[in-house]
């Protein structure tokens, strides 16, 4: 299988779906002539032309709303946010118009729209440009939230998201765009709402998604080699709806769990998962669920502080050893 970058996987997904369905189009800042701020949409203007690959002004509320109105009329927009941090200026469009119009109209409308872009902490972009919006959107009924961890999942899940008739919040990571992974030539899609065991293990379940999966895989390796602990790495892939079943099954097998989250700990996804599963696995747990998340501070510019505030292999190993009492 050819190895490609995550940004290419995203581009392939969009390109294939735009070839497949003329109602799909791409909208966002610098997606067309500049070929994408992070080159995700490179070459798509040349291929599909300015009617279907559209540069917008810096008007997130305006163009996300434009996408939503178009979706109400049967089109299938892909709206790119240069960064999910900028979605804070159009939160109402997403939390109200995207999430509620179907419900408030008694089911009269479908909203087949994908909002995608880079989420989370990149490199020294400081507090305003390093938001992790996972929990902000996963909290809201009416939305679907997806956060892939590798090129294969990213392509398969983005294709499903574009075909999905519901509004999808698709969370990428700027610093994962260059990550390489095997992606088959043949077309495929992946299911939305299904977690994936990235590594089988017996001693502890590491729950993670997006950027944190690679981190947990590295930690799992070191745990095995240095500490003889066999960790199972569970990649949620979809944050809403949450695949509780797979999570619970894994914990019932390992009896121990650590949730690794790039977000702040209070009211983040990690907290949400605990809320959803704690009662159901309470009697299966040999130790309280462990947590690794970002420090409860705004993201600083300084490189070392920025690293220090985030989850690390060391922090994951420490948390695992704690729940394993070793």
């Amino acid at each position: 299988m050819p190895e490609i970058q995550l940004r290419e996987a995203l581009r392939q997904a969009m390109t294939e779906e735009m070839d497949r369905d003329p109602n799909v189009f791409l909208l966002g800042e610098e997606v067309a002539e500049y070929n994408g701020a992070y080159k995700v949409s490179e070459g798509m203007l040349a291929r599909f032309g300015p009617e279907r690959v559209i540069d917008t002004p810096i008007s997130e509320a305006g163009f996300s709303g434009l996408g939503l109105g178009a979706a109400m009329c049967g089109l299938r927009p892909i709206v790119e946010f240069m960064s999910w941090s900028f979605s804070l200026v159009c939160m109402d469009q997403l939390m109200n118009n995207a999430a509620n119009i179907r419900y408030m109209s008694g089911g009269q409308f479908k909203l087949p729209i994908v909002f995608r872009g880079g989420n989370g902490i990149a490199h020294q972009l400081a507090a305003t440009h390093s938001h992790r919006v996972d929990a902000i959107f996963a909290r809201v009924p009416g939305l679907v939230v997806i956060a892939p961890s590798n090129p294969y999942d990213a392509k398969g899940l983005l294709k499903s998201a574009i075909r999905c008739d519901d509004p999808v919040i698709f969370l990428e990571s700027e610093i994962m765009l260059a990550d390489k992974g095997e992606v088959p030539q043949e077309e495929y899609t992946l299911p939305i709402g299904v977690a994936d065991i990235k590594r089988q293990g017996t001693d502890v379940t590491l729950i993670c998604w997006s950027k944190m999966v690679k981190l947990c895989m590295n930690a799992a390796q070191e745990l095995e080699q240095q500490h003889g602990i066999d960790a199972e790495v569970l990649d949620l892939r979809t944050l809403r709806p949450l695949d509780e079943q797979t999570v619970i099954q894994s914990i019932r097998k390992t009896h121990r769990c650590v949730i690794v989250d790039e977000d702040w700990s209070y009211c983040g996804i990690g907290a949400g998962i605990m809320e959803r599963i704690y009662k159901k696995v309470f009697d299966d747990l040999d130790a309280p669920i462990g947590r690794v998340s970002s420090e409860d501070v705004p993201v600083p510019y300084n490189h070392y502080l920025e690293l220090a505030m985030q989850p690390s292999v060391e922090k994951v190993i420490a948390a695992v050893r704690e729940v394993c009492y070793v």
Binding site: F63, L75, Y103, Q108, G193
Partner: protein, 345 residues
């Protein structure tokens, strides 16, 4: 197709005999229906054992705007977005009074199954895209519907209505620039009733002539009398023609007046009796009624018939709503997402 649409009367409503002026009478009739619907809604809301709840904003006094737009609205092609003061345009676009009233009563037979309420009337099949409660938030959606018309080359336009207070939401300006930049067929229509809740235009907009709030986007702007149905029709007609021709958007301030308070809880303290009385003289229904009389297109007998008709329709609507069932508990969990998950396609 006709330059302007006929008002569709619900079955059973007899059409007045003489043929001359039939269209005009039907439009008058629709304004009367809206007025009657709203005034009855007021009674139902305020009477003991209240069966209507939440925020409820009445359209009385502004009827000419919605009926004028409906006259040029091309069903199956055009779209309309509005704020939460949405009963009038919904009836004008052909919503039956029954599901309209039933929605206010929160019943399953309501146009939004009782889940949306007064602020969220929708009727997808006629292009009535709501009914939106967050001030200004629907204006970008209007550019999106217009985008769809252009993308699919349907020749449709999107009438995007909002209040004078909504021009102060940034979404308004972002939408204007996008619409003009992409040359989208959208008509931005301010229903300027002079007030944002209790705040007069002069106290919420630095520029008193609200049509000027559309300047700076290389699109035509215009201020019109929103209480004169004939003017509204002709202005909307030329605006729609302009947009359909691919010239991009247009910005119209329709000046009107609301007779009732902002919502049911509004004591109207900010308004003098004199102001209210003066306004009554410019009642769009009275203006149009007199014009039809002058043109000898209307006589007392016919008007009486029409009043009887709209009264009957609204009575039936209330009965229908009252007898309709409330949603079941299971409905709470329906209409949230369109798909079943896990989803593979």
């Amino acid at each position: 197709m006709a330059v302007v649409n006929e008002v569709e009367k619900p079955p059973g409503v007899k059409v007045t005999p003489s043929v001359a002026g039939q269209e005009e009478r039907k439009r008058l009739w629709m304004m009367m229906l809206i007025r009657r619907f709203e005034e009855r809604t007021y009674q139902e809301y305020t009477k003991p054992g209240q069966r209507i709840g939440g925020f409820c904003h009445l359209y009385s006094g502004q009827e000419a705007v919605a009926v004028g737009i409906a006259a040029v609205f091309q069903k199956g092609k055009d779209y309309l977005f509005n704020g939460y003061r949405d009963h009038g345009h919904s009836l004008a676009l052909g919503m039956d009074a029954k599901p309209a009233m039933a929605e206010l009563f929160g019943r399953t037979t309501g146009c939004s199954k009782g889940k949306g309420g007064s602020m969220h009337f929708f009727q997808a099949e006629v292009g009535n895209l709501g009914g939106h409660g967050i001030v200004g938030a629907h204006i970008p959606l209007g550019t999106g519907a217009a985008f769809a018309c252009k993308y699919k080359k349907t020749g449709g336009v999107c009438f995007t209505l909002f209040g004078d207070g909504a021009v102060n939401q940034g979404t308004h300006n972002e939408a204007l620039n996008l619409a003009s930049l992409l040359k989208l067929p959208v008509i931005f229509i301010i229903e300027n009733n002079g007030l944002a809740m209790g705040t007069q235009v002069a106290r919420h907009s630095a520029e008193k002539d609200l049509s000027k709030r559309g300047l700076g986007y290389a699109m035509p702007t215009k201020s019109i009398d929103g209480n004169d149905l004939d003017i509204v029709i002709s202005e909307m007609k030329s605006a729609a023609d302009y947009c359909r021709a691919g010239n991009g958007p247009m910005y119209i301030c329709a000046n009107t007046y609301r007779f009732r308070g902002h919502s049911m809880s509004d004591p109207l303290k900010y308004r003098t009796k004199e102001e209210a009385e003066k306004a009554r003289l410019r009642d769009p229904i009275v203006i149009y009624e007199n014009r039809l009389r002058e043109k000898r297109l209307l006589d007392d007998a016919t008007l009486e018939d029409m009043e009887g008709e709209v009264a009957a329709i609204v009575n039936e609507a209330v009965q229908f709503a009252d007898q309709s069932p409330h949603p079941e508990l299971a409905d709470l969990y329906k209409d949230i997402l369109a798909e079943q998950y896990p989803l593979q396609k």
